[in-house]
């Protein structure tokens, strides 16, 4: 009798403890502190497209809120149809998030100022990535998300795939000469230096920069003239076309198609690599965004050789 009762109690205890045993509280360190999660989140709201990109890559299907605007075209089909729109990238709809009462809220870069407010409502993490070590930052985020959603294995695969892709791009770039990343915006040219959001092309891929002074890390998006391109004459030109969404595809190419640029080696040898503007500008901290960009880099190098 006692034995049976004791057995029942034991059984009940095991049954009760079972779910929590596999979901121990985990502590997530992130850009703005440490957040403790009691269990695997069953609903998550993201205020940042790069973070959405990473969740999507991990196959997480409990995304209930996404930004209302600026959806990168390559992600458009991946957004759950019933996901709630939770405000702009800069101003998340805090009340909407509070009303939905998600298990986890993710902020990053543009929405990170909402962290203090959101962290008072629901467990919130800040996945802002430091551009000075972008690849490692993205991989750390994937690993973090993998730990949170119990997808460590998948996260490991993604990190490995990313590493492999970086390695492939690195190999493709090796010995190919110098590079320069520019942005075209409203008919003007800006140059992206080390420390900018595309610095990983110089750092992670080992593309030698045409800058003499690599410490010049705060300078990104500086206005330059066509003469600058003519004189620095990088072997490869990477172009982020901010006008692509406005002036139609090929706006940057039309801008570069002129008598001065025709003189350059990169134009004559067709060594211009156009980077997906949404990926380069909005989701460069996301797995798929980064893979898109890396594939474009690799394809660019291979097509030309």
């Amino acid at each position: 009798m006692f034995k049976t009762a004791g057995g029942l109690v034991a059984l009940a205890t095991v049954l009760l403890l079972a779910p929590s045993a596999s979901a121990q509280p985990i502590e997530i360190e992130h850009a703005q502190g440490t957040t403790t999660l009691d269990a695997v989140p069953q609903s998550v709201m993201v205020t940042d497209w790069a973070a959405f990109d990473n969740l999507d890559a991990l196959g997480i299907e409990v995304i209930e809120g996404v930004p209302a605007s600026a959806t990168p075209p390559y992600l458009a089909g991946r957004v759950p149809a019933d996901a709630q729109a939770i405000g702009s990238l800069q101003e998340p709809d805090i009340e909407g998030i509070a009303a939905a009462d998600p298990d986890l809220v993710i902020v990053a870069s543009r929405s990170r100022t909402s962290y203090p407010m959101l962290s008072g409502i629901a467990p919130t993490i800040d996945l802002t990535v430091d551009n000075h070590d972008l690849i490692a930052g993205v991989e750390a985020n994937i690993t973090r998300l993998g730990a949170i959603f119990d997808r460590e294995e998948r996260a490991g695969e993604l990190v490995a795939a990313l590493d492999a892709k970086v390695e492939e791009a690195r190999a493709a770039a090796e010995g190919k000469g110098t590079g320069l990343v520019i942005v075209t915006n409203a008919g003007r040219l800006g140059v992206y230096g080390p420390g900018s959001r595309v610095a990983w092309i110089y750092d992670a891929l080992g593309v030698p920069s045409v800058f003499d002074d690599v410490d010049d890390s705060d300078h990104g998006g500086d206005a330059i003239s066509f003469e600058y391109l003519l004189e620095t004459n990088p072997d490869w030109l990477f172009v982020v076309d901010r006008d692509a969404g406005v002036g139609g595809e090929g706006a940057a190419r039309a801008l570069l198609d002129n008598d001065l640029i025709h003189e350059t080696g990169f134009w004559q040898n067709d060594r211009i690599i156009y980077l997906d503007p949404a990926a380069a500008y909005v989701t460069m901290h996301g797995y798929s965004g980064l893979m898109v960009l890396l594939d474009q880099v690799i394809a660019g190098y291979e097509d030309a050789s």
Partner: protein, 318 residues
């Protein structure tokens, strides 16, 4: 008769302000009431504080400078705010803007802005008499000067940093850092107390310098006191939510037009109530009609400019 009109106008405005407040707190609420009320309550407090600061500072600035056109923001204050913020990012980096102790940053901004305003006002308004259009011009030039320096710094900044900065430059009532409410409240209360102490001089100052002096007002000291407090108020409001250029002009002019007189005991409460109606009501409309997509400052800029032009036209046609 006049007093009667003022009382009616103020009563109606108070009613409208109450309606706006009620609508702001309750319309379209989802989820738990306790959260909604406390969340909206804090934002409401911020909006009311900003409305109060802008209305009072604009009315008193116009009293002291003896005109109805100049406002602190037209004197380049919003541009100065942008410059202060840009300088913070420029010299100290983005991290500063996001992570530094907000109280410290806020106080530093208030001190810098108040200090500058004090110097500028002193130079402009306490020296010899100057023609009003010279002052307008100087104000506009200062505005462009500050804005150009900011743009210059922004051009040098990393585009990522610029993105963060751009967010900070839009007047935002959605993401008011409510941790700053306490400090702001204290500063506004302090300024109000000081102003209360000299409030008996307000109507006399409207008569002009010579009249005020002959009526026994210590002109220099009073004016400097008021201007310094105006600087604090403007600094608080701009630092709290960002630049809103024409708002003060809008509420001060509307208040006078509605009242038909310029007595401060009428104009001040009417302007404050109008400001509350416009900000709180405006934010309510924004959230329901545009669903967060557009910063209120854009709409205030649009409506403020529009209403003012209409006001000038009507005033002249009459």
């Amino acid at each position: 008769m006049r007093s009667g009109r003022a009382a009616i106008v103020i009563a109606i405005l108070a009613l409208l302000a109450l309606v706006s407040v009620a609508a702001f707190l309750t319309l379209g609420a989802r989820g738990s009431w306790s959260f909604v009320l406390s969340f909206r309550g804090k934002r409401l407090l911020a909006l009311v504080l900003v409305a109060y600061a802008i209305a009072v500072s604009t009315v008193l600035f116009q009293t002291v400078t003896n005109n109805r056109i100049l406002t602190p923001s037209i004197m380049g204050f919003d541009a100065l705010y942008v410059l202060v913020q840009t300088s913070v990012v420029f010299f100290l980096g983005t991290q500063m803007l996001v992570l530094a102790d907000p109280h410290l940053r806020f106080l530093a901004e208030v001190v810098v802005m108040a200090g500058f305003a004090w110097i500028l006002f002193r130079w402009l308004f306490l020296g010899e008499e100057r023609s009003l259009h010279l002052l307008v011009l100087v104000g506009i030039v200062f505005g462009i000067f500050f804005r150009s320096i900011s743009t210059f710094m922004q051009r040098i900044l990393d585009p990522n940093a610029f993105q963060v900065l751009q967010d900070a430059l839009f007047a935002s009532f959605q993401n008011v850092d409510t941790t700053l409410l306490g400090v702001s409240f204290a500063l506004v209360a302090m300024a109000s107390l000081v102003l209360w102490g000299v409030s008996h001089t307000f109507d006399v100052l409207t008569l002009g310098r010579a009249q005020a002096v002959s009526l026994g007002v210590d002109y220099r000291r009073t004016v400097m006191t008021i201007l310094t407090m105006v600087a604090v108020l403007v600094a608080v409001s701009t630092a709290l939510v960002g630049p809103i250029t024409f708002f003060g002009l809008l509420v001060a002019s509307l208040a006078r037009a509605l009242l038909g007189d310029s007595l401060h005991r009428h104009v001040l409460p009417a302007a404050v109530l109008l400001a509350i109606v416009a900000l709180v009501g405006g934010q309510t409309v924004l959230e329901r009609v545009f669903s967060f997509d557009t910063a209120l400052s854009i709409i205030v800029e649009f409506l403020g400019g529009l209403v003012f032009i209409i006001l000038i036209m009507r005033g002249a046609a009459r």
